[in-house]
Protein backbone atom coordinates (compact mmCIF):
# COMPACT_ATOMS: atom_id res chain seq x y z
CA UNK A 1 0.00 0.00 0.00
CA UNK A 2 1.32 3.45 -0.93
CA UNK A 3 1.77 5.68 2.11
CA UNK A 4 3.07 9.18 2.65
CA UNK A 5 5.07 8.22 5.69
CA UNK A 6 6.92 5.09 6.73
CA UNK A 7 8.58 4.32 10.01
CA UNK A 8 12.11 2.88 10.14
CA UNK A 9 10.94 -0.71 10.40
CA UNK A 10 8.67 -0.34 7.38
CA UNK A 11 11.45 1.32 5.37
CA UNK A 12 13.97 -1.40 6.23
CA UNK A 13 11.53 -4.22 5.51
CA UNK A 14 10.29 -2.54 2.34
CA UNK A 15 13.81 -1.97 1.07
CA UNK A 16 14.78 -5.55 1.94
CA UNK A 17 11.97 -6.67 -0.37
CA UNK A 18 12.62 -4.03 -3.03
CA UNK A 19 9.12 -2.64 -2.51
CA UNK A 20 8.21 -0.06 -5.18
CA UNK A 21 6.34 2.21 -2.78
CA UNK A 22 9.23 2.33 -0.33
CA UNK A 23 11.72 3.02 -3.12
CA UNK A 24 9.45 5.85 -4.28
CA UNK A 25 9.24 7.14 -0.74
CA UNK A 26 13.03 7.10 -0.39
CA UNK A 27 13.50 8.97 -3.66
CA UNK A 28 10.85 11.52 -2.83
CA UNK A 29 12.06 12.19 0.69
CA UNK A 30 15.81 11.60 0.68
CA UNK A 31 17.07 12.37 -2.81
CA UNK A 32 16.71 16.14 -2.39
CA UNK A 33 19.11 16.17 0.56
CA UNK A 34 21.64 14.04 -1.32
CA UNK A 35 21.36 16.13 -4.48
CA UNK A 36 21.82 19.34 -2.55
CA UNK A 37 24.88 17.97 -0.76
CA UNK A 38 26.51 16.78 -3.99
CA UNK A 39 25.73 19.92 -6.02
CA UNK A 40 26.99 22.18 -3.27
CA UNK A 41 30.30 20.36 -3.14
CA UNK A 42 31.21 20.62 -6.82
CA UNK A 43 29.29 17.56 -7.94
CA UNK A 44 26.71 17.26 -10.67
CA UNK A 45 23.22 15.84 -11.09
CA UNK A 46 24.47 12.55 -12.57
CA UNK A 47 26.85 12.00 -9.68
CA UNK A 48 24.06 12.75 -7.18
CA UNK A 49 21.80 10.19 -8.87
CA UNK A 50 24.59 7.60 -9.09
CA UNK A 51 25.64 7.99 -5.46
CA UNK A 52 22.02 7.86 -4.28
CA UNK A 53 21.18 4.75 -6.28
CA UNK A 54 24.38 2.86 -5.51
CA UNK A 55 23.96 3.48 -1.80
CA UNK A 56 20.36 2.26 -1.91
CA UNK A 57 21.61 -0.86 -3.71
CA UNK A 58 24.44 -1.64 -1.28
CA UNK A 59 22.08 -1.22 1.66
CA UNK A 60 19.51 -3.40 -0.12
CA UNK A 61 22.14 -6.10 -0.63
CA UNK A 62 23.35 -5.80 2.95
CA UNK A 63 19.78 -6.14 4.23
CA UNK A 64 19.51 -9.54 2.54
CA UNK A 65 21.78 -10.78 5.33
CA UNK A 66 19.31 -11.37 8.17
CA UNK A 67 22.08 -10.90 10.75
CA UNK A 68 22.62 -7.32 9.66
CA UNK A 69 20.90 -4.78 11.89
CA UNK A 70 20.72 -1.01 11.62
CA UNK A 71 21.03 0.27 15.16
CA UNK A 72 20.50 3.99 14.45
CA UNK A 73 17.53 5.53 12.66
CA UNK A 74 17.43 4.52 8.99
CA UNK A 75 18.03 8.06 7.81
CA UNK A 76 21.09 8.48 10.04
CA UNK A 77 22.54 5.27 8.66
CA UNK A 78 21.63 6.05 5.05
CA UNK A 79 22.97 9.59 5.25
CA UNK A 80 26.21 8.42 6.86
CA UNK A 81 26.81 5.97 3.99
CA UNK A 82 25.92 8.65 1.44
CA UNK A 83 28.25 11.16 3.01
CA UNK A 84 31.24 8.84 3.25
CA UNK A 85 30.64 7.51 -0.25
CA UNK A 86 30.60 11.01 -1.67
CA UNK A 87 33.58 12.25 0.31
CA UNK A 88 35.64 9.20 -0.57
CA UNK A 89 34.55 9.42 -4.21
CA UNK A 90 35.72 13.02 -4.32
CA UNK A 91 38.94 12.12 -2.59
CA UNK A 92 39.65 9.28 -4.99
CA UNK A 93 38.88 11.40 -8.02
CA UNK A 94 40.90 14.36 -6.92
CA UNK A 95 43.80 12.29 -5.65
CA UNK A 96 43.70 14.59 -2.69
CA UNK A 97 46.64 14.05 -0.38
CA UNK A 98 44.45 14.50 2.66
CA UNK A 99 42.96 11.48 4.35
CA UNK A 100 39.46 10.09 4.00
CA UNK A 101 36.48 11.84 5.47
CA UNK A 102 36.99 12.36 9.11
CA UNK A 103 34.36 14.69 10.44
CA UNK A 104 31.33 12.46 10.17
CA UNK A 105 31.72 11.28 13.74
CA UNK A 106 30.43 14.72 14.68
CA UNK A 107 27.06 13.77 13.39
CA UNK A 108 26.81 10.02 13.57
CA UNK A 109 29.17 9.26 16.41
CA UNK A 110 28.89 5.85 17.95
CA UNK A 111 25.37 5.16 16.77
CA UNK A 112 26.45 3.67 13.49
CA UNK A 113 29.06 0.98 13.04
CA UNK A 114 31.83 2.87 11.27
CA UNK A 115 33.21 -0.31 9.67
CA UNK A 116 29.89 -1.05 7.99
CA UNK A 117 29.72 2.49 6.68
CA UNK A 118 33.21 2.35 5.17
CA UNK A 119 32.62 -1.05 3.59
CA UNK A 120 29.27 -0.05 2.11
CA UNK A 121 30.69 3.25 0.84
CA UNK A 122 33.57 1.45 -0.89
CA UNK A 123 31.14 -1.04 -2.43
CA UNK A 124 28.92 1.76 -3.69
CA UNK A 125 31.85 3.46 -5.42
CA UNK A 126 33.10 0.21 -6.91
CA UNK A 127 29.63 -0.85 -8.10
CA UNK A 128 29.13 2.52 -9.72
CA UNK A 129 32.41 2.16 -11.59
CA UNK A 130 31.51 -1.29 -12.92
CA UNK A 131 27.95 -0.37 -13.80
CA UNK A 132 29.03 2.82 -15.57
CA UNK A 133 31.45 0.97 -17.84
CA UNK A 134 28.98 -1.80 -18.46
CA UNK A 135 26.31 0.71 -19.51
CA UNK A 136 28.80 2.37 -21.87
CA UNK A 137 29.16 -0.84 -23.89
CA UNK A 138 27.11 -1.46 -27.01
CA UNK A 139 23.70 -2.95 -26.45
CA UNK A 140 24.86 -6.13 -28.21
CA UNK A 141 27.81 -6.56 -25.85
CA UNK A 142 25.63 -5.88 -22.81
CA UNK A 143 23.13 -8.53 -23.84
CA UNK A 144 25.74 -11.17 -24.68
CA UNK A 145 27.54 -10.62 -21.36
CA UNK A 146 24.32 -10.68 -19.36
CA UNK A 147 23.29 -13.98 -20.90
CA UNK A 148 26.77 -15.40 -20.65
CA UNK A 149 27.23 -14.46 -17.01
CA UNK A 150 23.79 -15.91 -16.30
CA UNK A 151 25.21 -19.23 -17.60
CA UNK A 152 23.22 -19.43 -20.81
CA UNK A 153 24.79 -21.72 -23.42
CA UNK A 154 26.32 -20.03 -26.45
CA UNK A 155 23.82 -21.86 -28.70
CA UNK A 156 20.89 -20.49 -26.69
CA UNK A 157 22.34 -16.97 -26.69
CA UNK A 158 22.72 -17.11 -30.49
CA UNK A 159 19.12 -18.22 -30.80
CA UNK A 160 17.81 -15.68 -28.31
CA UNK A 161 19.66 -12.73 -29.84
CA UNK A 162 19.34 -13.85 -33.46
CA UNK A 163 23.10 -14.16 -33.94
CA UNK A 164 24.61 -16.25 -36.67
CA UNK A 165 26.32 -19.01 -34.64
CA UNK A 166 27.39 -20.21 -31.22
CA UNK A 167 31.00 -19.69 -32.25
CA UNK A 168 30.28 -16.08 -33.07
CA UNK A 169 28.68 -15.65 -29.62
CA UNK A 170 31.78 -17.16 -27.93
CA UNK A 171 34.08 -14.87 -29.91
CA UNK A 172 31.98 -11.74 -29.25
CA UNK A 173 31.57 -12.61 -25.57
CA UNK A 174 35.34 -12.88 -25.10
CA UNK A 175 35.95 -9.63 -27.00
CA UNK A 176 33.30 -7.77 -24.99
CA UNK A 177 34.55 -9.10 -21.66
CA UNK A 178 38.14 -8.28 -22.56
CA UNK A 179 37.20 -4.76 -23.63
CA UNK A 180 35.19 -4.15 -20.48
CA UNK A 181 37.97 -5.41 -18.21
CA UNK A 182 40.55 -3.31 -20.04
CA UNK A 183 38.46 -0.16 -19.67
CA UNK A 184 37.94 -0.74 -15.97
CA UNK A 185 41.59 -1.63 -15.46
CA UNK A 186 42.68 1.66 -17.04
CA UNK A 187 40.28 3.78 -15.02
CA UNK A 188 42.08 6.06 -12.56
CA UNK A 189 39.42 5.49 -9.92
CA UNK A 190 39.82 1.72 -10.20
CA UNK A 191 43.56 2.08 -9.71
CA UNK A 192 42.91 4.10 -6.56
CA UNK A 193 40.40 1.55 -5.30
CA UNK A 194 42.74 -1.41 -5.73
Amino acid sequence: MKKNKYNDEEIIEGLRQGNDNVLNFLYKNYYGVVRNMVLKSSGNEDQARDIFQEVIIVIYNKLQDSKFKITSSFFTFFYAVIKITWLNYRKLNMKNPLGYAKDYNDEIGSQVAADDIEILAAQAIRNNLFTTYFKQMTEGCQKILKFYLAEYKAEDIALELGLKSANYVRKRKSECLKLLIEKIRKDALYKELK
Binding site: R49, D103, G109, Q111, F134
Partner: protein, 249 residues
Protein backbone atom coordinates in the same frame (compact mmCIF):
# COMPACT_ATOMS: atom_id res chain seq x y z
CA UNK B 1 42.48 -12.41 -21.30
CA UNK B 2 42.75 -15.61 -23.34
CA UNK B 3 40.04 -18.24 -23.47
CA UNK B 4 41.73 -20.70 -21.10
CA UNK B 5 42.23 -18.06 -18.45
CA UNK B 6 38.67 -16.87 -18.93
CA UNK B 7 37.37 -20.44 -18.43
CA UNK B 8 39.40 -20.78 -15.24
CA UNK B 9 38.13 -17.48 -13.87
CA UNK B 10 34.47 -18.08 -14.69
CA UNK B 11 34.79 -21.68 -13.49
CA UNK B 12 36.18 -20.56 -10.15
CA UNK B 13 33.47 -17.92 -9.69
CA UNK B 14 30.79 -20.49 -10.48
CA UNK B 15 32.53 -23.11 -8.37
CA UNK B 16 32.84 -25.53 -11.30
CA UNK B 17 36.54 -26.29 -11.42
CA UNK B 18 37.91 -29.80 -10.95
CA UNK B 19 40.97 -30.47 -8.76
CA UNK B 20 43.55 -30.05 -11.54
CA UNK B 21 41.96 -26.82 -12.72
CA UNK B 22 41.79 -25.52 -9.13
CA UNK B 23 45.52 -26.12 -8.68
CA UNK B 24 46.20 -24.33 -11.97
CA UNK B 25 43.96 -21.46 -10.87
CA UNK B 26 45.67 -21.17 -7.48
CA UNK B 27 49.06 -21.10 -9.15
CA UNK B 28 48.09 -18.31 -11.54
CA UNK B 29 46.31 -16.37 -8.83
CA UNK B 30 49.39 -16.47 -6.61
CA UNK B 31 51.95 -15.61 -9.27
CA UNK B 32 50.30 -13.63 -12.04
CA UNK B 33 49.16 -10.13 -11.15
CA UNK B 34 47.20 -9.68 -14.39
CA UNK B 35 45.31 -12.90 -13.81
CA UNK B 36 44.53 -11.88 -10.26
CA UNK B 37 43.21 -8.55 -11.44
CA UNK B 38 41.13 -10.16 -14.21
CA UNK B 39 39.61 -12.46 -11.61
CA UNK B 40 38.75 -9.62 -9.23
CA UNK B 41 37.20 -7.48 -11.96
CA UNK B 42 35.21 -10.40 -13.40
CA UNK B 43 33.93 -11.36 -9.93
CA UNK B 44 32.71 -7.82 -9.33
CA UNK B 45 31.17 -7.69 -12.77
CA UNK B 46 29.28 -10.89 -12.17
CA UNK B 47 27.94 -9.77 -8.82
CA UNK B 48 26.86 -6.47 -10.39
CA UNK B 49 25.43 -7.63 -13.67
CA UNK B 50 24.35 -11.15 -12.98
CA UNK B 51 22.27 -10.56 -9.88
CA UNK B 52 18.73 -10.28 -11.16
CA UNK B 53 17.32 -8.80 -7.95
CA UNK B 54 19.95 -6.05 -7.90
CA UNK B 55 19.35 -5.34 -11.56
CA UNK B 56 15.61 -5.11 -10.85
CA UNK B 57 16.19 -2.59 -8.06
CA UNK B 58 18.49 -0.64 -10.37
CA UNK B 59 15.83 -0.57 -13.08
CA UNK B 60 13.15 0.52 -10.58
CA UNK B 61 15.36 3.34 -9.28
CA UNK B 62 16.12 4.53 -12.82
CA UNK B 63 12.45 4.50 -13.61
CA UNK B 64 11.53 6.49 -10.46
CA UNK B 65 14.26 9.00 -11.22
CA UNK B 66 13.08 9.42 -14.81
CA UNK B 67 9.50 9.76 -13.66
CA UNK B 68 10.33 12.30 -10.97
CA UNK B 69 12.94 14.43 -12.71
CA UNK B 70 13.14 13.90 -16.46
CA UNK B 71 9.36 13.85 -17.05
CA UNK B 72 8.90 16.69 -14.62
CA UNK B 73 11.52 18.81 -16.41
CA UNK B 74 9.93 18.14 -19.82
CA UNK B 75 6.47 19.02 -18.53
CA UNK B 76 7.83 22.20 -17.02
CA UNK B 77 9.46 23.14 -20.33
CA UNK B 78 6.22 22.54 -22.25
CA UNK B 79 4.24 24.63 -19.76
CA UNK B 80 6.76 27.44 -20.12
CA UNK B 81 6.53 27.36 -23.91
CA UNK B 82 2.73 27.36 -23.74
CA UNK B 83 2.56 30.49 -21.67
CA UNK B 84 1.14 33.34 -23.71
CA UNK B 85 2.85 36.60 -24.24
CA UNK B 86 0.63 38.38 -21.73
CA UNK B 87 2.59 36.53 -19.07
CA UNK B 88 5.81 37.73 -20.61
CA UNK B 89 4.54 41.30 -20.60
CA UNK B 90 3.55 40.94 -16.96
CA UNK B 91 6.99 39.60 -16.11
CA UNK B 92 8.66 42.50 -17.90
CA UNK B 93 6.48 44.97 -16.00
CA UNK B 94 7.41 43.37 -12.70
CA UNK B 95 11.09 43.38 -13.67
CA UNK B 96 10.91 47.08 -14.51
CA UNK B 97 9.33 47.76 -11.11
CA UNK B 98 11.94 45.69 -9.31
CA UNK B 99 14.70 47.37 -11.32
CA UNK B 100 13.42 50.82 -10.43
CA UNK B 101 13.18 49.89 -6.77
CA UNK B 102 16.61 48.26 -6.82
CA UNK B 103 18.20 51.27 -8.53
CA UNK B 104 16.72 53.64 -5.94
CA UNK B 105 17.61 51.32 -3.07
CA UNK B 106 21.18 50.65 -4.16
CA UNK B 107 21.95 54.30 -4.73
CA UNK B 108 21.46 54.84 -1.01
CA UNK B 109 24.08 52.19 -0.09
CA UNK B 110 27.86 51.88 -0.24
CA UNK B 111 29.48 49.56 -2.82
CA UNK B 112 30.05 46.82 -0.28
CA UNK B 113 26.47 46.89 1.00
CA UNK B 114 25.16 46.86 -2.55
CA UNK B 115 27.18 43.84 -3.58
CA UNK B 116 26.65 42.03 -0.31
CA UNK B 117 22.87 42.40 -0.54
CA UNK B 118 22.90 41.38 -4.17
CA UNK B 119 24.80 38.16 -3.61
CA UNK B 120 23.99 37.14 -0.06
CA UNK B 121 21.45 34.42 0.25
CA UNK B 122 21.21 32.57 3.55
CA UNK B 123 22.15 28.91 3.36
CA UNK B 124 19.49 26.28 3.85
CA UNK B 125 19.73 24.16 6.96
CA UNK B 126 19.18 20.44 6.73
CA UNK B 127 18.44 18.88 10.06
CA UNK B 128 19.38 15.34 9.32
CA UNK B 129 20.15 13.53 12.54
CA UNK B 130 17.77 12.42 15.21
CA UNK B 131 19.66 10.31 17.68
CA UNK B 132 19.32 10.82 21.38
CA UNK B 133 22.33 8.68 22.06
CA UNK B 134 25.14 11.07 21.25
CA UNK B 135 25.96 14.40 22.82
CA UNK B 136 27.42 15.91 19.65
CA UNK B 137 24.43 14.89 17.59
CA UNK B 138 21.99 16.37 20.08
CA UNK B 139 23.84 19.66 20.32
CA UNK B 140 24.31 19.98 16.55
CA UNK B 141 20.73 19.02 15.91
CA UNK B 142 19.44 21.51 18.44
CA UNK B 143 21.67 24.27 17.02
CA UNK B 144 20.43 23.61 13.50
CA UNK B 145 16.82 23.64 14.65
CA UNK B 146 17.41 27.02 16.29
CA UNK B 147 19.10 28.29 13.13
CA UNK B 148 16.15 27.15 11.10
CA UNK B 149 13.88 29.12 13.45
CA UNK B 150 16.19 32.12 12.95
CA UNK B 151 17.12 32.22 16.65
CA UNK B 152 20.73 32.94 15.72
CA UNK B 153 22.14 33.80 19.16
CA UNK B 154 20.77 30.65 20.73
CA UNK B 155 22.02 28.62 17.75
CA UNK B 156 25.49 30.09 18.21
CA UNK B 157 25.51 29.13 21.88
CA UNK B 158 24.86 25.52 20.85
CA UNK B 159 27.45 25.47 18.07
CA UNK B 160 30.06 26.94 20.39
CA UNK B 161 29.80 23.79 22.49
CA UNK B 162 31.42 21.90 19.59
CA UNK B 163 34.60 23.88 18.82
CA UNK B 164 36.18 21.02 16.86
CA UNK B 165 33.24 20.17 14.66
CA UNK B 166 33.44 21.34 11.05
CA UNK B 167 29.67 21.31 10.74
CA UNK B 168 29.20 23.36 13.91
CA UNK B 169 31.88 25.84 12.80
CA UNK B 170 30.29 26.24 9.39
CA UNK B 171 26.81 26.92 10.76
CA UNK B 172 28.34 29.14 13.41
CA UNK B 173 29.76 31.22 10.54
CA UNK B 174 26.33 31.37 8.93
CA UNK B 175 24.70 32.45 12.21
CA UNK B 176 27.38 35.10 12.75
CA UNK B 177 26.69 36.51 9.29
CA UNK B 178 23.02 36.81 10.13
CA UNK B 179 23.98 38.65 13.33
CA UNK B 180 26.29 41.01 11.41
CA UNK B 181 29.37 39.59 13.16
CA UNK B 182 31.28 39.27 9.91
CA UNK B 183 34.75 39.23 11.43
CA UNK B 184 33.78 36.32 13.67
CA UNK B 185 32.12 34.61 10.73
CA UNK B 186 35.40 34.79 8.77
CA UNK B 187 37.21 33.04 11.63
CA UNK B 188 34.62 30.26 11.63
CA UNK B 189 34.75 29.84 7.84
CA UNK B 190 38.56 29.82 7.94
CA UNK B 191 38.38 26.85 10.29
CA UNK B 192 36.22 25.01 7.76
CA UNK B 193 38.33 25.98 4.76
CA UNK B 194 41.46 24.61 6.42
CA UNK B 195 40.20 21.10 5.69
CA UNK B 196 39.77 20.76 1.95
CA UNK B 197 37.93 17.48 2.20
CA UNK B 198 34.65 18.43 3.75
CA UNK B 199 31.19 19.10 2.42
CA UNK B 200 31.08 22.72 3.51
CA UNK B 201 34.28 23.78 1.80
CA UNK B 202 32.69 25.50 -1.23
CA UNK B 203 30.00 27.25 0.79
CA UNK B 204 32.49 28.37 3.46
CA UNK B 205 34.74 29.93 0.82
CA UNK B 206 31.84 31.75 -0.81
CA UNK B 207 30.41 33.10 2.42
CA UNK B 208 33.85 34.12 3.63
CA UNK B 209 34.18 36.14 0.42
CA UNK B 210 30.87 37.88 1.09
CA UNK B 211 32.01 38.68 4.64
CA UNK B 212 35.16 40.27 3.18
CA UNK B 213 32.95 42.38 0.90
CA UNK B 214 30.89 43.48 3.85
CA UNK B 215 34.09 44.33 5.76
CA UNK B 216 35.27 46.40 2.75
CA UNK B 217 38.32 44.16 2.24
CA UNK B 218 38.04 44.47 -1.50
CA UNK B 219 41.45 43.13 -2.54
CA UNK B 220 41.15 40.06 -0.35
CA UNK B 221 37.61 39.47 -1.56
CA UNK B 222 38.61 39.71 -5.23
CA UNK B 223 41.48 37.33 -4.64
CA UNK B 224 39.23 34.76 -2.94
CA UNK B 225 36.42 35.01 -5.50
CA UNK B 226 38.95 34.77 -8.31
CA UNK B 227 40.27 31.59 -6.70
CA UNK B 228 36.72 30.17 -6.47
CA UNK B 229 36.05 31.10 -10.10
CA UNK B 230 39.02 28.97 -11.20
CA UNK B 231 37.66 25.83 -9.54
CA UNK B 232 34.70 23.57 -10.19
CA UNK B 233 32.92 25.05 -7.18
CA UNK B 234 29.14 25.28 -7.14
CA UNK B 235 29.69 29.04 -6.77
CA UNK B 236 32.16 29.50 -9.63
CA UNK B 237 29.75 31.37 -11.93
CA UNK B 238 28.60 33.67 -9.17
CA UNK B 239 32.25 34.19 -8.22
CA UNK B 240 33.16 35.26 -11.78
CA UNK B 241 30.29 37.72 -11.76
CA UNK B 242 31.12 39.22 -8.39
CA UNK B 243 34.79 39.63 -9.37
CA UNK B 244 33.62 41.69 -12.35
CA UNK B 245 31.26 43.68 -10.14
CA UNK B 246 33.96 44.31 -7.54
CA UNK B 247 36.38 45.57 -10.17
CA UNK B 248 33.77 48.05 -11.42
CA UNK B 249 33.39 49.56 -7.94
Amino acid sequence: MNTDREKLIIGMIKNKLNTVQTVHFDDLFANDENFREDFIITSHLMSNINDKKTMDIRAKLDSIYNEMYVTHKKAKMIRLIKQNWYSAAAVIAVLVMIGTFWFTYLNKQGWNEQLYNTYYEADEVFVNTRSKANFNVDVLHHGMELLEKKDFSAALAEFNKLPNSLTANYYSGVANMELNNHELAVIKFDYVIEDYLNLFYDQAQWYKGLCLVKLEKKTEAISLFYQIAQTESYFKDKAKQIVADLREN
